[in-house]
Subunit: 324 residues, 2 copies
């Protein structure tokens, strides 16, 4: 069995060996730059683990796994440009270090490089693999559009929000596992169950991101706590708070999210006080757990010996316990 650590090790080492062309330098230098940002690489690791679950040869999944990672980094590159984020993992973003046009074009070429890598599979499964990837890539774009729209919209419901994070975040995690299953030659029904495991895991993962941003331990989290609050981001926490609040709490929320400028510390503390009053932390944890349990049910349904599933069970448990 392939361990999580070994899978990540393989990905890190193969990603370093990945040949990105040298010229035109201004096109490919940003690609190398963003790919060397030391991310967690858990999506490509899931491709290998998804393949290994069904007894497939995970070495055959390495290029498609790198394709998933290249695609993920393409979305980060363009999202940073669209969100005008200046820093990622303590380094300037591509459109800051170079310029917006370079960010557009280097992102464009990454999206195609990703597709080329995904397609490096046996001819017999190329159709289903590339279909799953293209469908997923389209959904990720849809999710990013909804995310941008919701930032300007006051009335986003929880179900709209969950649908948005499903598209923006979860489908790529699900597809990582699904591609791995296809490479192992798993039956359609089994691949689908693994895909759905990833889908719920991805939703839980994003909800935890929301939670950590408000209730994480700043020293462990590595980012400033309360950034979502400062930037008026409509997360699960804020949407639920608006739904539940009345009287003083509602007035507080309306005041702090009216668009006016406030002292950051004051705003974070006041909004966290409202969250605490309304028991939002607990509610978010319950929701995370719900999706985690749903994920595990799909994993249970897969027809392979339970020992083979232990790695993914551990993986999901660690993702749920994470503090950063």
């Amino acid at each position: 069995m392939l361990s999580i650590e070994k899978a990540q090790e393989v990905i890190v080492s193969e990603l370093e060996k990945l040949e990105i062309p040298q010229e035109p330098r201004n096109l490919y230098e940003p690609v190398r730059y963003i790919l060397s940002n030391g991310g967690k690489r858990f999506r490509p690791a899931l491709v290998l683990l998804g393949c290994d679950l069904f007894g497939g040869d995970y070495l055959k999944a390495v290029y498609p796994a790198l394709g998933i990672e290249v695609f993920h980094n393409f979305t980060l590159l363009h999202d940073d440009l669209m969100d005008n984020s200046t820093v990622r993992r303590n380094r300037p973003t591509v459109h800051i270090k170079w310029d917006p046009n370079t960010a557009i074009l280097s992102g464009d070429v990454m999206s195609i490089l990703a597709s080329s890598l995904i397609n490096k599979v046996d001819a017999g499964i190329l159709g289903p693999v590339s279909s799953l990837f293209n469908k997923t890539a389209i959904e990720v774009c849809e999710g990013q559009m909804l995310d941008m729209e919701y930032a300007l919209c006051e009335n986003v419901s929880i179900s709209e929000y969950i649908n948005m994070i499903r598209l923006k975040t979860s489908v790529l995690i699900a597809a990582s596992l699904g591609v791995g299953a296809l490479i192992a030659g798993a039956a359609e029904k089994e691949s689908e169950s693994l895909y759905n495991f990833g889908l719920h895991l991805g939703i839980a993962f994003q909800l935890q991101d929301d939670l950590l941003d408000s209730f994480g331990d700043q020293n462990v989290f590595g980012k400033k706590i309360g950034n979502d609050i400062i930037t008026n981001k409509r997360t699960f926490l804020l949407i639920r708070a608006f739904e539940k609040a009345s009287g003083h709490e509602l007035m507080e929320l309306q005041k702090y999210f009216s668009g006016e400028e406030f002292d950051a510390r004051e705003k974070i503390d006041s909004v966290l006080a409202v969250f605490n009053k309304l028991d939002i932390r607990k509610e978010t944890e319950t929701k995370i757990n719900e999706h985690h349990q749903n994920a595990l049910k799909y994993l249970e349904a897969i027809n392979v010996p339970v020992e083979r599933k232990e790695v993914l069970m551990r993986f999901s448990a660690e993702l749920m316990k994470r503090e950063k």
Copy 2:
């Protein structure tokens, strides 16, 4: 045999029927908008004609042909944003009608939609078709980067320039024919010859674009004559003029391309006078003819009855005679 007119008719009608999702509206509305710009559609027509040349069923080439057209329009959408062009075919460009972020994301999804359409071929040829498309798409990005770099660079040689237009323009024309050949099941050598026919035709096509911008008939051309001169664009004509000029002509060129602002009419007239003095028009026509003849040699080498080649011969002749 499929005629050029019939091929274009099929493409126009199938493009209208192409199902682009409705939601998210802000993502897909710009896709529909740019695809309805009434372009010449000659790239997708070439996919059908390339397939028909080898006796293939051109109906099997329709989706990949639409994929090529969607990809081409994706590059227009992102190029317009990067070049900050405000008008295309008498309509505001996407980043003007919507905003830059919408242009980025709608372009991103078009690139993937293109790939999905290209992949709608029989499983047996999916590998070669998607490889050719991805290779081509990467080259088009490289060409656009070189084009942006050369705009800021004073010393671009003719061979660098030809290489840039090969990447930015020709490879997609060549790949259109190549994909058609693959769908027809043509032998590798024959597909390559047809690809190379398209490659030289594409270079001739772009050089003619350069020529028309300086020496076209304004009434027929549809765009303002001299736009390349006004925007200091290093075209084949300008690069050769700088190479050949000395004395008064060189001083004129240096003056008008120093970055200073000039009256548009004065600048165009003076630069055209230098072009005329140095016989640049004739030289460009010779170069166009050279690539056209090269293209025809590759077409001749293809092992199908000469009657089957007549459509593409006529197509290339019309492209060379075009005045807009």
